[in-house]
Assembly symmetry: C2
């Protein structure tokens, strides 16, 4: 538990909460920690969950495979970020996406009902955490909308420009690395990998970008 505190302190949901209160919270919310090997699922489409998750280490993809096996990567979860909360809070609806570890990972699980109901120990920080959760959710909403603006673009080149320039902005530099390989980037932008690879090279030939593996520079 102790070794996870440093990560939890960095999360939006525990922003402004003292280390002691975070400690109290983890017992109050029945917090558990679990390790996942690369490729293992944290939860799957169709399941019902009543805990929300925070990524302690590793990396996780939120994705969805359709009937024909086409994969769509909805978002990439980074360390200290939360996931699964939408389904945990409204616990009555089945999860419609998969959460899969893309590298060996550790995940913290928090009981959302215990958070939302009045604490018998009258923990004063419940409300603070709920407010933080609210803020975290608005950020999530914004990044979902951001993603929508990327894949709403009509051509692969426009999608790439939209995504890459957004990454540059987030990274604060025109040189940055992305958390996807080519197949994953294609699944994220909802395009064909080889066509996208082809388009990336054309953009390089046109003098728009340079890249090497996951490292990109916008020119």
């Amino acid at each position: 538990m102790k070794k996870y505190i440093d990560i939890l302190k960095r999360t939006t949901m525990f922003c402004g909460i003292s280390q002691n209160d975070i400690d109290a919270m983890t017992t109050c919310l029945n917090t558990s920690f679990k390790d996942f090997k690369k490729g293992e699922y944290i939860f799957r489409q169709g399941e019902y969950i009543d805990h929300f998750c925070v990524l302690i280490s590793g990396s996780v993809h939120i994705q969805s495979d359709d009937y024909w096996g086409n994969r769509s990567i909805i978002s990439e979860v980074r360390v200290a970020e939360m996931f699964g909360e939408s389904y945990a809070v409204s616990g009555s609806s089945a999860v419609m996406i998969d959460a899969v570890a893309t590298s060996d990972s550790t995940v913290a699980f928090f009981n959302v009902k215990k958070l939302m109901t009045v604490c018998p120990h009258a923990c004063g920080f419940h409300n603070a955490v709920i407010q933080n959760l609210l803020i975290a959710l608005t950020h999530k909403n914004q990044s979902l909308m951001q993603k929508l603006t990327h894949i709403s673009k009509r051509t692969t080149r426009e999608k790439l420009i939209s995504y890459l320039s957004n990454q540059a902005k987030l990274f604060g530099s025109n040189s940055f690395s992305i958390p996807f390989n080519r197949q994953q980037l294609a699944d994220f932008l909802s395009v064909d990998r080889s066509a996208m690879s082809n388009e990336l090279c054309k953009m390089r030939d046109d003098g728009l970008i340079i890249f090497d593996r996951n490292n990109f520079t916008l020119l």
Copy 2:
């Protein structure tokens, strides 16, 4: 004010709040109401807002026009639904979408700072509303993800099937009407209108659906 109470009672954010408390809330949160003509903007990309909005009557589209004038309709707001809250809560970031009235509408504005800070009158319902807001946001998140699954589909036909079958599910019947005309549906699904219109007719010829204007039936 009185005439709006019936709508406010139906919103997720005031779910379980008594009418008297809603009354108190509207004064406590500096609530204002404003009318918009069809085509008028409630807010625009680039603005900063510190109030979140609830649609009292009419209809509103959340949309984004890019540099080249391509319109993307992100979502359709219905009466009693909330919008703009993501930007109001994290008030420091500029709005990156437009909210436009698609018919004559009335909108309620709530001051989000007053909601989030401790009320000098110690309104007991602040926390209840914040919890409701949390739930509303998770629903919103889910519908954004739902929309992502639609437009992640590769072909226009798949996008239409994904959207229409979801509408049928929401409506609880294989006959339903949609809140978009053809151009709006195309902007929502990020495809070309004429190509989509063409595909709809092919689907009808293939015996998948029948339709008349906005009324659809899945076969």
